[in-house]
């Protein structure tokens, strides 16, 4: 097992700069998830760590060794691909042992390692089958098994669950988590699925346009996003953004939302916002911080009620997502199942300013 360090990592394809100077240090045993929209450079970073792409600039270190020019096979990494990349003509056991056989490991040792990995992943009874005789989830397990038997210093996962259906994805997520708890191998995992990022990661690295927007624990990136991009990317449905103005009213610092209510800011937030008094900012409020008015658990004293016109209602069983208009903007709220709003209805929703994020529109940084 080893640390992975990326220093000012740059990758250019012809004229396109895919990765624009990334610094990231991944300590031993950590599970890091690179997340971001398509084309943000996350897979390119992973492939550079694997040695499948040349490094245009900067350094990659695995352990103490600079590996920029080390071929993939000598980096002591193992990779799990999105399309499994199993050898179709080999059995499960042969697929898993291919790397060991190429390295001329003793047969008995190969057998033991394959058996152990198969036991861990629950595929011991599939060892004689070929990939085409397996389901998607089983194939992905085999792909992971192939990674495990190598006993690598670093695991690399490239969107491994994207080809599975939603239910299986949930199961495999748990499996991967269990695997990491068991093996504690340093892991770099690429996904565009924020649920995977939040649930699996020790640390989430949010990337955009070839740069790291923020690296932090799942809790940090969700509750304390540093940039507008991170605030908008993490969370589903996405955070609501709308213009607001900072004013002083009755001795309190208030964020007055465009066409919406004036939200008194909590003390800490107010201190940071005060220098922007009279200026326009962007307010970010997650759907769960706009709740139904009726009592229950959500209605605490700091909420500010406001009448809105319901646009679209999405009942999801355990909650209901409500889209409504505020001025020109369409916003989204998460309400309990006790209320049954219907489209076109006028109703009162409560805005909770305690989790309000204020964003400077010039820098796109969260205050």
């Amino acid at each position: 097992m080893a640390d992975v360090t990326l220093q000012n990592l740059v990758k250019t394809f012809d004229t396109v700069e895919a990765v624009r100077g990334i610094d990231l240090s991944i300590p031993n045993n950590e599970f890091v998830v690179l997340v971001g929209p398509s084309g943000c450079g996350k897979s390119t970073v992973l492939r550079m760590i694997a040695g499948l792409e040349d490094v245009t600039g900067g350094d990659i270190r695995i352990g103490d060794e600079r590996v920029n020019d080390v071929p993939p096979k000598d980096r002591n990494i193992a990779m799990v691909f999105q399309n499994y990349a199993l050898y179709p003509h080999m059995t499960v056991a042969q697929n898993m042992s291919f790397g060991l056989r190429l390295r001329k490991v003793a047969k008995s040792e190969i057998r033991d390692k394959v058996q152990r990995a198969a036991d861990i992943l629950g595929i011991a009874e599939l060892l004689d089958r070929r990939p085409r005789e397996l389901s998607g989830g089983q194939r992905q397990r085999v792909a992971m098994g192939r990674a495990i038997v190598r006993d690598p210093e670093v695991f690399l996962f490239d969107e491994p669950l994207s080809n599975l259906d939603a239910k299986l994805r949930g199961q495999m997520r748990i499996e991967i988590q269990r695997l990491h708890q068991q093996l504690r191998t340093t892991t770099v995992y690429v996904t565009h699925d924020q649920v995977e990022a939040m649930t699996l990661a020790d640390r989430v690295v949010v990337m955009n346009a070839g740069r790291i927007e923020q690296a932090g624990t799942p809790d940090e990136v969700y509750h304390r996003p540093r940039t507008r991009f991170v605030a908008g990317f993490m969370g589903s449905p996405a955070m609501n953004f709308l213009d607001c103005q900072i004013t002083e009213e009755n001795g309190r610092t208030v964020a007055r939302l465009a066409a919406g209510p004036a939200l008194p800011l909590p003390a800490e937030q107010a201190a940071r916002a005060r220098s922007y008094t009279g200026k326009k900012l962007v307010a970010g409020l997650r759907p769960e911080n706009i709740r139904e008015a009726a009592g229950h658990d959500g209605a605490n004293s700091s909420g500010v009620p406001h009448d809105v016109s319901i646009d679209i209602v999405e009942p999801l069983g355990r909650e209901t997502i409500v889209y409504f208009r505020l001025g020109d903007a369409t916003l989204c709220a998460r309400v309990g199942t006790e209320v049954h709003p219907s489209a076109g209805e006028q109703t009162s929703l409560v805005f909770h300013p305690d989790r309000l994020h204020l964003i400077d529109p010039e820098t796109d940084l969260v205050l």
Binding site: K73, H89, L102
Partner: protein, 291 residues
Amino acid sequence: MTAIPFKTAPSLRSNRRWALIAAYACLGIFVVFFLFPPYYMLVTSLKTNAEIAELASNPWIVTDGVTLGHYEHLLTESSFPRFFLNTTIVTVIVVAITMVISVLAAYSLARLRFWGSGVLATGVFLTYLVPDTLLFIPLFKIVGWLGLLDTYWSLVLVYPTLTVPFCTWIMIGYFGSIPRELDEAALIDGANHMQMLLKVFIPVALPGLIAATIFAFTVAWANFLYPLAYIYSESEMVLTVGTVTTLIKGDVFHWGGLMAGALLAAAPPVILYAFLMDYYIAGLTSGATKG
């Protein structure tokens, strides 16, 4: 509500029946058309010379008794076994040379992206489009210069100019269809290019390899023009040219022997096709249905 399935089901069924009838009718015509020459060869080869020469006899069946005389003559008193051996030697070597060159070439053109590889891949195919009737004169000069005229080694040298471009093209297609992630997985597993080719690419592209082998075999076994142009001694001849030059004496056609020779010469490709086609189809359809 229920009227719809009742109405569509019979029409679907009759639709299918008509499609099947049409398919069998077309296949039937096709089979008769293509099996007629071998049947005629077989029947003629089993007739006596007298029956073949008799204008009044029925050409479609043997009436005066079956004879194996033509086969006996061919196998014991003519150079036919020699032609057969020569053809086999030439074909085996040509197929081997072709597969080695075209597999290596296709792998590098499909996977090792290097400067000009795209142009080169197209160029390889373009050379195949030059007809051999244009090539045999310049090739004659080369063969003569190498001192290979009137030996079957000239064919070993010349046939790959026909087989390699096409086989390379087929293999580029097959190798190109292998997902790139498979090479990357093999690369991480520690395979070098040779191991990747031998342990991953060739087994995965086996149907393509077999298709290319069949093509190379057919060309080498059945080419007529080159042996006609380059070989004159009976001991060096191959089946295509040897059979007709030794069994047609001036304006006398030994039809019985010619037909027997043609049938025997056609047997190896037929056997090979029959054997490999099963394998070929199995390879193509593997994984198409859920196991």
